[in-house]
Symmetry: C2
Amino acid sequence: MPQGQPAVVPDDGLTTRQRRNRPLVLVHTGPGKGKSTAAFGLALRAWNQGWPVGVFQFVKSAKWRVGEENALRVLGASGEGGSVAWHKMGEGWSWIQRPAGADESGQESNEAKAREGWEQVKRDLAAETYRLYVLDEFTYPMHWGWIDTDEVVSVLRERPGMQHVVITGRNAPEPLRDHADLVTEMAKVRHPMDSGQKGQRGIEW
Amino acid sequence: MPQGQPAVVPDDGLTTRQRRNRPLVLVHTGPGKGKSTAAFGLALRAWNQGWPVGVFQFVKSAKWRVGEENALRVLGASGEGGSVAWHKMGEGWSWIQRPAGADESGQESNEAKAREGWEQVKRDLAAETYRLYVLDEFTYPMHWGWIDTDEVVSVLRERPGMQHVVITGRNAPEPLRDHADLVTEMAKVRHPMDSGQKGQRGIEW
């Protein structure tokens, strides 16, 4: 049920309003479904508030967010709500200019691409470009050691203004969990694939 | 990471394609965040497939889905993707005609309203009105004994065609979990309210 009451009122000298409007770091992790889906659901709320939303997809998986991407593009262009910028690693980050005719495949390692994405997130956080950041599957480059988790936590801690950040993916590193305001663990209780069911259109992508 | 392989290939005589395109019952339950949010994320995928989507909100909570509702209304009216019909209990189900000037409050119990919503879901399932049903917070009327869980399972089992149903809310009854193709349990690892943080605009609604 929606409305909750805080379990404790902290002795931090802040008013309820100040505590209420606080930039949050949210982590959706665990082996179950719904980590990214719930992050894109949050993007709907942000859009509805008129906030600029930035999505950064950190894992190359062409078809897997096509529904969310199309929907958010239509919303961003609707003239209502906030703007939406969608960046993905798999097709080259949108801010990187490639020479015409250049073949992207094999030109740059996935590790370098993930790092370049993170560099852009840092620039956008410093410039306060967005009000909600969806860093989709961003736990993996941290888990794989491509991006330093301590640096991520430090950048998040120092970010200016009212910028909310949602990070999704399995195996969220411990320092990130410790820093987050909200960690939700999606557990798989039963999954169709357990009984031989494969992913299907409209449900899995 | 996105693509998965089935753990077992069932001996059911179906082809992969037949197994792939199967109407699913999905349940998002548990005490954590993201149950409904992930269901609305699924609605984006369904919309993107051009499917008619029906949302039924079973708990009266005026402000709590306003972001998702506005976004899905804009998408449904965009001329791209599928249609979206949004029904909610709190403002009277949309198909019920009330006499002009009638005051809804106290006229009908919440229990009766929840039952009326379920009757409409049954009619829509029989008519194959939608391809994806979001029965938001529908576990509560079952948990409270307002709607018979065995009847729900029986209606879901007998539903015709290719209709996917997502049911959200805490305390999903056991027979529903047993029947579902996918059960995801959202666990709360850490929540801002634990440290006195209240819900805020754009994040919680």
